[in-house]
Symmetry: C2
Subunit: 306 residues, 2 copies
Amino acid sequence: MHEVLIVGSMALDSVKTPFGEVDRVVGGAAVYAATAASLMATPRVVGIVGGDFPQEALDFLVARGADLAGVKRVPEGKSFYWSGVYDYDLNDRETLDTQLNVFADFHPTLPESFRQSRYCFLANIQPQVQLSVLEQLEDARFVMCDTMNYWIDNEREALLEVLSRVDLALLNDTEIRQLADTPNLADAARRVLDLGPDYIVVKKGEYGAALVSRDEHFGIPSYPLAHVVDPTGAGDSFAGGMIGFLAHQDNCQSRDLRRAVVVGTIAASASIEDFGLDGLKQLHTSELLVRCDGLREMVQFEPIRL
Amino acid sequence: MHEVLIVGSMALDSVKTPFGEVDRVVGGAAVYAATAASLMATPRVVGIVGGDFPQEALDFLVARGADLAGVKRVPEGKSFYWSGVYDYDLNDRETLDTQLNVFADFHPTLPESFRQSRYCFLANIQPQVQLSVLEQLEDARFVMCDTMNYWIDNEREALLEVLSRVDLALLNDTEIRQLADTPNLADAARRVLDLGPDYIVVKKGEYGAALVSRDEHFGIPSYPLAHVVDPTGAGDSFAGGMIGFLAHQDNCQSRDLRRAVVVGTIAASASIEDFGLDGLKQLHTSELLVRCDGLREMVQFEPIRL
């Protein structure tokens, strides 16, 4: 029980930040999200890798309890490759190279056992692929999707169809402004809610995250870290933490969603403390709970009376 | 009782935002801060105005309970003038014109009755002027200062002297990075604490604010608004709300500081809802308290157990 379906990229990344650089380390949205979710649930991973994808990375996910029946291996192909560089304050990144490789032919057919998954995260992939996954789900209770500026610009109609069919959409602040075509975040969130989802999570990087529904607004700062090394995968770790917690609770009320955002925030905090997956791998349940309590203490204040 | 000393600019501003523009409306750090503080305390205002400063603006402050004994009028001079334009997302602004006018000769001598003030806000002015005010204070309990990039670049030594003598420094995220010469906000805050203040408030505009001391970190998102019109004066409204609340409590423990940041956040939220002072003027105690409760609800989440 507590299974979560996670569909997305499995990649090799070359990343340069002001704090160092790494070459062809394991990454990809599905890998980050599955690693985070594995602290609370059983990830059912759907992705595609080439012959160059390290076996030990797959072994690690299995050791964490993941079911990789949905991971297709193409021994003669190469894995999705991304290379990027982050600037001084780590908020902006520049993509140097993207090679889709085997990911160009990612048309996932869910294993029979995966179709009953109740909690799902559709990471940032072509909206048409997200739709095809949605159509294979038979008993979904809560589906989250991510996306990116490229799909907002180039596949808007398919993306709108996805948004009309998911429960929660994750967007960063730039994307939600772009999607809603308004600079005001609260206003933009409201407009995106009108497109279908019950919840929007606005990811603001180092500035935290907001959870917005038609009748409430939850906001939380990011977990403060004195040493941030590599923001790659932070958003996917966030999403994996969220969906893992929801599956663990097997409940999706407002009180669960709020706490899921907190868990996501902490998963993201661990993810950015080291390059690639190294930061997130070091996050265990005990530290996750300690940080969640820390964040709770961080936002506490007594009622104001005058 | 509950007096707060507020020292800073009193200005005429011309502002253009994507939502409209205004010409030569009353503004200035001391005016915004005094208006916000007046909801909770008696502002003792120290500033300088020219013959062009509208009498009704002074009358308004007096009606709000302010003591203007420290406001010097130079009938033959012109008031400090600032003109600026905000871009689409309101986070960046460009200064089109600054005319110091009478403000160039702002060397305040505190009225005798002001020297015993226990709660003080030294708004963004030349650090040497901030120092001269500090030297005239006889019984200060809690002093907050603001500053800006110009002084960090050009009057660094005097600014460091100010920082060594105040209890709390307000900085926006760009300024604190610049002052501490590090991109990481948590790290930057720690370095600035080493310069002297017990507390740093990092203002992050629409992303909220953080209060950092040597042993704790408080963070709060901004109050969500669907209609933001003019960010001018938001930081000074924030500071005025903070110092007014502290004076009202006559206490400066962590629990007071946290709530002061919340009150500041709400004062800033009202300030940006209309041009010039029009937004802040409409904020009354009842609405202030309603919004404080709203912000408290906004960050609530239950403990996380797995």
